[in-house]
Amino acid sequence: MRKTFEHEIQQLKDHILALGSMAEQALLDSVDALKHRDIPRSQIIYDNDELINAKRFEVENEVMIAIATQQPMAHDLRLLASILDVAGELERMGDYAKGIAKINLFMGEQPLLKPLVDLPRMAAKAADMLHRALTAFVEEDIVVAKSLPEEDDEVDQLYTQIYRELITYVIADPTAIERSNWLLWAAHNLERAADRVTNICERTVFVVTGQMQEIDTTDHELSL
């Protein structure tokens, strides 16, 4: 009985890692496609969000089957409940990538306001945090889970930096408002994605300790 269940749990962890890598790749690709104004690639990212959604439903379905057939308790129960939650977080991260892809599609033939430097850095940082948070989740590493959310400050600082830079463009040339806004939306999506990494870390702590609590991070995010 336990052997089958252990196997199912391992499979679910594999699925959540697969879903995570889909979301991570989508975030990186969406910013890269924007940077290179690669519209066909953005279209693919936009369409492929369906695959992320489908994978999330697949994970949910398997968790529900495991709950129904194994009637998990204690740590097992916390893990399965958390997998449901984390799958939801990852699906939302996929949506942020889709949103960035959509910005590129919207922009059509218009050139970028400026070459992208900080946005790719933000994307790389968010994707890296996501990757490590998910590894910590499946390995149940609470040391990493508790320390990782602090790194969100870096993402928030990049976001503030991008915001201030874009403002200078708008002041210099009010007709740049729309193109500036597009980039700000992209940055905002990345900032939201990184925030969700903290939620995954909170779930990891919950799986291991049973304590459901928010991890405090200094929030440098602009209140817009």
Binding site: M1, R2, F5, Q71, P72, M73, A74, H75, D76, L77, R78, T209, G210
Partner: protein, 260 residues
């Protein structure tokens, strides 16, 4: 029994050791059972949970080699003291067993019997109806009260035994795997009934069914085998805590199916 009603617990065991002959079956149990709540006792086979349950109404006295030391306080009085009448203890702390065991008598007599020998002076018809209603059985048997208790289904027989138990007005009901011989529907009926009964009675239930313990109880006591094979109370607490975040690894291992 002289009693002290200031005690806030239904039953309180202190340093309770239970023996079969020379063998220590259960070691040093200290537990306080809350009034009008359902307390589940779980644990692997042979860990002594049923022995502890039976110690709560001196049912172990019926086993010649069994003896106890320590105390079981009920209304502030140790039920193992010499001046305590075990029959009176068992009237006030009733018991329902794993296998339904109605008497080979009519449904009516099954319920009326205990009250009758206790010299019940009230209206017996009313008592029988009230008890059968209390056991959620009245509607199913009201037209055939003269039929044998043995003619009922397993689930109905178990509810008849519960009606028989509550007819003598106990304040605690001990249940030793009350649904393990029943099908899922009859099991759920018993579980619903337990919730109803907990409004008036304190219920202590031994069960091997973890989901049942999680579903019906307010508190859960996990018993385990110690290294010397004597049972010990390993962990005791609020059911929701025990089943979602137990404090001890042995509890976690047991409820997640790693042993037992």
């Amino acid at each position: 029994m002289t009693e002290n009603n200031t005690n806030s617990y239904a039953i309180e065991a202190a340093d309770l050791n239970l023996y079969y002959g020379e063998t220590l079956a259960v070691r040093d149990v200290n537990i306080q059972i809350e009034k009008q709540k359902i307390t589940a006792m779980i644990g692997p086979s042979g860990c002594g949970k049923s022995t502890v349950l039976r110690a709560f109404n001196r049912m172990n006295d019926l086993i010649p080699s069994a003896h106890a030391n320590g105390s079981v306080l009920y209304h502030g009085k140790n039920i193992y003291e010499e001046d305590v009448d075990p029959v009176e203890v068992r009237r006030r702390i009733g018991m329902v067993f794993q296998k339904p065991n109605p008497f080979p008598k009519s449904i009516y007599d099954n319920v009326a019997w205990g009250a009758g020998i206790n010299g019940y002076k009230g209206n017996m018809n009313d008592l029988v109806e009230e008890s059968l209603r209390g056991a959620a059985l009245w509607d199913e048997v009201k037209d055939k009260l003269d039929k044998s208790g043995l003619s009922l289904s397993g689930g109905q027989q178990q509810r008849l035994c519960i009606a028989r138990t509550i007819a003598v007005k106990p304040d605690i009901i001990l249940m030793d795997e009350p649904a393990s011989a029943l099908d899922p529907i009859a099991t759920l009926k018993i579980e619903d009934l337990m919730q109803e009964l907990a409004k008036d009675f304190t219920i202590i239930v031994v069960t091997h069914n973890m989901q049942q313990a999680a579903r019906v109880s307010n508190f859960t006591a996990f018993f385990n085998l110690g290294e010397d094979h004597a049972g010990v109370l390993e962990e005791y607490g609020v059911t929701a805590e025990i089943f979602t975040n137990p404090k001890k690894k042995t509890t976690e291992d047991y409820i997640t199916g790693r042993f037992g």
